[in-house]
């Protein structure tokens, strides 16, 4: 933009418009500035040609930085230029979306293949790098590592075939890494073990326990045919759509089945006692027979924790021998039995001579003092609180069931008002039950997991194993 006879212009950026005004004070100028972008304003100043040098000098004293305007624009029409630029932007955007489509197509065709290739290449690199870690002299080298017990013979045979000059020795190592080995239906539950801590090889792997009782507790807490059905359908669809989190999804599907079973038991369908007019007959009504439900929960707890002590007994037997097992774990079982007999007598379920229950209890305490010392005695009250903690099986369910009934009640009120309120009622039903399902899923999941981690695993499980990583993976 040059070639005016009396007017000059200068363009650039400046940080503060106040300084700009100050610099231009006293001159006959017109200045425009834009809104600040990243702290600087774009500025254009028109002035008299005779003042040009003075104005530039003043501007140089500020943080003004000059931009040269390119091109000879003097004869073109601004609107036309704008139109041209907009056309250009549109065509570039069109190109961009075309390119994105092509990338998507490429990903579809080659994505999986490339992923597999990358995995394979990494595996090859690791395998070829491994010899660097082996101890070697000029003529020999030595390799040490672990292999799952059942694969030992296969490895020995395979290595011996390579050359006669190889000496190979195997010995069992109880401090080696752990490879979990469970039947296929239980596999998903290994997820929880990985999350907590891996067992060491000579310890019982509690995955099978989670398989049996996790969905049971989950179902007992959520316990609603409708909710179970929704979760079951949703996660079955997710199972086919999603490639990740397979184990979590499988666990949830199994838990949803148990939720439906308990739904029949409690006679609940979305909080109501009927399925589309068909009356359900609860064996146990969660809202009215709460005390019975708590009692059942606590019985579940006693069974669960007793199971924990029995496993603990087996663990100690394998690791420390019979004496330690009896003193440290059998003692807890005696204490528990004594306590239960005392409670049965107190609540007049059956009469037990106090001498028997107290005798068992104190015999257990003495054994415990020898087995686990002072710490064991301090832990005594935790037995009671752990067992009572299973009351959450009833309590979480009560909260979920009450909320469902509340939602139904609100919606029912709306339906009776009729008209527009009925639509509101449908909305309340959908939103209310969706929230309740989500809350129920999260809570049942966490509480069930926690019952295993905190209440049960502490009775027998130590863990701290390391993961077995096969060569090159």
């Amino acid at each position: 933009m040059k070639g005016y006879e009396n007017v000059f212009l200068v363009a650039g950026q400046i940080q503060s418009t106040e300084k700009l005004k100050e610099a231009l004070k006293g001159f006959d100028t017109v200045a425009f500035h834009s809104e600040p972008e990243k702290g600087t304003h774009n500025v254009i100043v028109f002035g008299k040609k005779s003042d040009e040098e003075k104005i530039l000098a003043k501007l140089n004293e500020t943080d003004f930085s000059r931009t040269e305007l390119k091109g000879e624009w003097e004869y073109s029409d601004v609107n036309k230029e704008m139109e041209n630029i907009e056309k250009e932007i549109a065509s570039v955007e069109k190109d961009l979306s075309g390119i994105k489509k092509r990338i998507g197509k490429l990903e579809e065709t080659y994505g999986k293949k490339l992923g597999a290739i990358e995995k394979r290449l990494i595996e090859m690199v690791r395998k070829s790098e491994a010899p660097l870690n082996f101890a070697s002299s000029d003529f020999t080298f030595i390799i040490t590592g672990w292999v799952p017990e059942k694969n030992t013979n296969g490895l020995v045979n395979a290595v011996k075939k390579i050359s006669k000059g190889i000496y190979i020795r195997t010995e069992p190592d109880s401090n080696g890494p752990t490879k979990l080995n469970n039947p296929k239906p239980m596999k998903p539950f290994e997820f929880f073990i990985n999350l907590y801590t891996l067992p060491i090889p000579k310890e019982i792997d509690p995955t099978f326990l989670l398989f049996f009782t996790f969905p049971l507790f989950y179902g007992m807490m959520l316990g609603d045919i409708g909710y179970g059905l929704v979760i079951f359908i949703f996660f079955t669809i997710l199972r086919f759509k999603l490639n990740r989190m397979k184990s979590l999804i499988n666990i949830t599907i199994l838990s949803a089945v148990f939720t439906m079973v308990f739904g029949f038991f409690f006679g609940e369908f979305f909080g109501a006692e009927q399925i589309f007019g068909y009356q359900l007959h609860p064996y146990l009504h969660r809202l009215h027979e709460m005390n019975d439900l708590i009692l059942i929960s606590v019985i579940f707890g006693i069974v669960h924790i007793t199971g924990g002590f029995v496993l603990g007994f087996v663990n100690e037997l394998k690791q420390e021998g019979i004496k330690k097992a009896i003193l440290a774990k059998m003692s807890w079982l005696l204490i528990e039995t004594g306590g239960i007999l005392f409670a049965l007598d107190m609540f007049k379920v059956m009469s037990v001579n106090i001498a028997i229950s107290a005798g068992l209890f104190f015999l257990g305490v003495i054994m415990l003092a020898f087995g686990e010392g002072f710490i064991g005695i301090v832990e005594l009250p935790s037995l009671l609180s752990n067992i009572l903690s299973y009351a959450r099986l009833a309590a979480v369910g009560l909260a979920s069931a009450s909320l469902a009934v509340l939602v139904n009640g609100m919606a029912n009120g709306m339906f009776q008002s009729g008209g527009l309120f009925a639509i509101m009622g449908v909305f309340i039903l959908i939103a209310g039950h969706t929230i309740n399902i989500m809350l129920g899923m999260l809570d049942s999941f966490l509480q069930s997991l926690r019952l295993h981690y905190v209440e049960m695993f502490t009775k027998f499980y130590h863990g701290n194993g390391t993961l077995y990583k096969p060569f090159g993976t």
């Binding site: 999350l195 005390n291 009351a391 959450r392 309590a395 966490l446 926690r450 981690y453 905190v454």
Partner: protein, 72 residues
């Protein structure tokens, strides 16, 4: 005993234990989030640790229900 007093007693039992749970979970929750900021993988462990004090309110609920069963 008057039913009103029984209801108030049950409310106190569950109310105070709820506060206790909230207090405990607040402490654990903030610590867990702090740990998570350092290492993302601690989320699941933090979540499990955070729900541990829920036992307190469950005891409160059991006691509240026991108190309520005194009502006539």
């Amino acid at each position: 005993m008057a039913n009103e007093m029984i209801a108030i007693g049950a409310a106190i039992a569950i109310g105070i234990s709820a506060l206790a749970t909230a207090w405990a979970e607040k402490e654990i929750g903030t610590a867990a989030i702090g740990a998570m900021a350092e290492k993302e993988g601690l989320f699941s462990k933090g979540l499990i640790l955070t729900v541990i004090p829920e036992t307190i309110i469950i005891f409160g609920l059991v006691i509240a229900l026991q108190i309520l069963s005194l009502a006539h």
